[in-house]
Symmetry: D2
Subunit: 321 residues, 4 copies
């Protein structure tokens, strides 16, 4: 059924919405998080590792293994996330009791992804809420990696050329266009994409967010602390220019996670070949929807269009309980 | 007022929707068409000239001067329009009594554009419903050309990366990306753009089209004849893949014309810097909307979003009376 | 014979080496210069016009018509020439008695090129020692223009990816890559190219230059004045980095002119299809030699490899007599 | 000294010249080959593995570990090597007694490169005579990998835009431009490059090759067998078009190997920043020499210009003894 036991691997650049997505997974009884792999993105990979450990501590789940991954993109650069989530990626609200990096696994992220999927062939859903560098390296190191996945759930890309990072590109894809290209071409497993535009169209009202954060729980207090910076930032001119279809609370990464957790979550999607523009002056990193069938690709992804928002609110609410 | 006397120049690649746009202009009493310039596009420039003369003949307006323009794009290539409007661009419904090319002016299109605008400084609205080669050459030959225009009305480009010719590009822009780039950068006059997506969102029902063509008039019979091919073509798999937001009758070029004819026609638009991608693998020719203000351009275009559809139906209906 | 009467049109961005090339033509008895067209390049097109008039005045040949051409490239930008020839393009050695811009023809450069070649079909050799904007516009305005030329002589491009302006591109091509592309594709007349590398390999010793300038003549004194800035500049770190195969005096534009004046001047050339890279990150504007025959072009250019240096020294020497 | 003990890792796409380079290393007493890693290129990676094992068998050195590496480029495509070395990469001269793929190590190439260099920090010279995919993956998997190398010796790239695979690009770089880009940017160790043009300028006469193959030895007989196909191919029109500066025997990969074996082999080189063009229409994969210092890179490579040809002939001759 839609709620049968699920094994997840989560690849994050742990900003605040990655944290929300992770907490959604941890709060779901039938979900087993086999590991969390870290990658550059919202902040440097060191901070991403620290932030991930903090989220696990806040949920009392430090037994989940965390792995350090790529510090830069396939081509070797890093772009700035503009500090939407704060310089440290988690709202610049440091915790003196945060776990140290000694809690990280010795094994690297790419190696761990390959090993864990090998140990659970056909059973793992991979949720990727960050630049796709680790995934791209995994398929190059082990070409059979994607075929052993149950499914791939990506937050990234855009469908209407509405960039939030460059003129036409969304952050996760813009931060490593080659990785996104590799993943969309070589991961032939069932693939679900929560694009930037989709997440904007599926936003929650800020009033809902207030109720959400007002819950009486350790997790809600933690979230309120790390989310304050982004909430304020969302009123900036730049953030308002990025936003599509009105203001509100867009927990981008949580949509990919919700789709991985609950098979019935996505109620409408385009089943379509997709790719990534690698060479444009203004469009490098933009996701390409092959609406005309010109790319001649046999593999098609599910590009999310409509989701069960009642279920989403419930899963989000449960995440902080 | 919105219906005061208007001087128009029209630049066409006279396919069927260019014909519809021209006929709309000719049917408007307060509009004076100073000339029609021809350019490659739906068919070769010879056919475009012939088609334009046929349209004028059908409207008994052969006194309007027609000028031959560029036979190929700025870089020198021509792309196929895929014969949506037939091989001859006008439905492959030849007319034995069509006017000959001896009816063309000796003066070339670019020279004529410059001269006529010089003779009517600040008074001419230029309606461009074709690849923008002639306009790009005009500004390079006479840099002050755009500043002497009253306004520029373009059918072309796209706003949501939904290509109808290449994966991400609309036909008029894809047929000459450099020309579109030059025009969007160097025409600093008031500029209105009817994009492919916009025209699709503003389509008319096919049932309306039936009534339109059923009018008792020479013009309606002419239109029924030249439109038959495109109407059949619109049921092809490819045409249906191109179409956005459901099937129907999209007279693309007529929206740019309607905006030029009636100042009140456009009821909502984005006032935004725009450009054209020149170098992408999948995105060459795609229009760029600078929603984030990253292009640092001072000139902004009016990208049409909503128009007065009642008025549009009326103008279309009048065009065939 | 090689020295029979020659009709020339010269298209310049009149820096010091354009001046040297023009003076070579003026000093050749059997050469008739039908006109000089000006274009942006070493300096803005206004200065180019002024400089050209000054050169003609220094040679007492102000009866030769001078035409103003394009102020910017096909795409609309201008790049800095780095002031190798001084800010004014002619050594920043102003002349209070310089002719005014009222000496310019009213007709524009592109129009003049087309008209003069139409008046002398098959007889005109066109020498282009500047960004190729005017030529590109001429062929788009009048597609038959190249077929009426006797020959085309270009200084520009490079053959070994040794850029002098960008990492891999020579100035004249880098200043308008699209124009160079158009000209190399659409000028199907006999075409001779003096590339940057070729002119470097064919340089003269500075000691020769000293003798050249020491001639007792008005022209030599004029040249010494306008050339001082470039001579000093040639010892800069940047100029030395640009130079290929040792230091010396490279009068780039004069090689194209010498080839146009004397059919026997070029003693070895590659007859090869050529094009221009339009889209590279480091290679935009670089000339492409199709050594492998992969471009499938039927037209081939003569890419100069060896020239008669004794004849060159003689023509250069005569230019200042 | 130049001939002190050397530890080598060799990364190959074992065509015939890779075989020649490997045999040169095996014949050098003071050289210890720690392993050979295989990658796609002249043929598929399976064949590359088989060919490498055959070369080791021919030299009685099957104790050297061979590792399978990447089957395709970073972006995931493979280009055809045009079968210059035969379909199987080794002259289509199959050996019924060839070793099986069971002789391969279980460990993958990238993992082995990282491990072996970790076990011999600062002591290993890496010779790369193939598309650079394995090396690029190694530095992304282990960023400290290059800093632990003693030196890197690459056969690949070009210096004068004389392509042998695409119009402007050499095979090893054209086969994986992103990998070449990554390696030239991220391998900050001493780096020596034997470009296509350099190897052509340093060719041996075919008469020398005849003597070389006529040696009385098992190895010479093996070489004569696998080399026949390429020798015949070298008379094809295409091969002659690729060749620079006259015909002859160009054992490309052996120059990189000779430089790794003997510190005194390279007698002249340009010490210069280099990169790779990733986005050109005709220039994708072309090596960029930053002669003007515009790339602002601190790391510079040694681009070989002159080598000790007497020493080269001797090392080549010894390889077949
Ligand atoms: Ca994220
Ligand atoms: Ca049209
Ligand atoms: Ca010049
Ligand atoms: Ca090789």
């Amino acid at each position: 059924s839609s709620m049968s036991s699920k094994k997840l691997l989560v690849d994050v650049d742990c900003g605040v919405d990655d944290a929300q997505a992770i907490m959604m997974a941890l709060a779901t009884p039938y979900v087993e998080v086999l590991g969390i792999t870290c990658v550059h993105g919202n902040t440097n990979v060191e901070n991403v590792c620290k932030n991930t450990l903090r989220v696990l501590q806040a949920c009392n789940r430090l037994e989940i293994p965390v792995f350090r991954g790529a510090a830069k993109s396939i081509l070797g650069n890093v772009i700035s996330a503009g500090h939407f989530h704060g310089q440290d990626g988690l709202g610049d609200a440091p915790d003196p009791n945060a776990p140290g990096l000694d809690m990280l696994q010795m094994e690297g992220a790419v190696s761990a992804l390959i090993r864990i999927v090998n140990e659970n062939p056909g059973e793992v859903s991979l949720v990727a809420t960050a630049p796709l560098t680790n995934l791209a390296l995994a398929v190059r190191m082990e070409p059979s990696f994607p075929s052993k996945l149950k499914g791939l759930y990506i937050m990234g890309g855009n469908t209407e050329s509405r960039g939030n990072t460059t003129v036409c590109a969304e952050f996760n894809f813009a931060a490593d266009p080659e990785a996104a290209y590799i993943v969309l071409n070589d991961f032939l497993c069932p693939t679900y994409i929560a694009s930037w535009e989709f997440t904007c169209y599926s936003k929650l009202p800020w009033s809902w967010c207030d109720d959400w954060l007002a819950q009486e729980s350790e997790k809600a207090r933690f979230m309120a602390q790390i989310f304050r910076h982004s909430m304020e930032e969302s009123y900036s001119e730049r953030s308002q220019a990025e936003m599509i279809d009105g203001m509100g609370f867009v927990s981008c990464d949580s949509y990919a996670m919700a789709a991985a957790i609950d098979n019935t979550f996505v109620t409408e999607s385009d089943h379509m070949a997709v790719s990534v523009e690698l060479t444009g002056t203004h469009t490098r990193g933009m996701m390409i929807l092959d609406t005309l069938g010109m790319l001649k690709k046999t593999h098609k992804a599910f590009v999310m269009k409509k989701v069960n928002m009642v279920r989403f609110e419930q899963m989000m609410m449960d995440a902080l309980k």
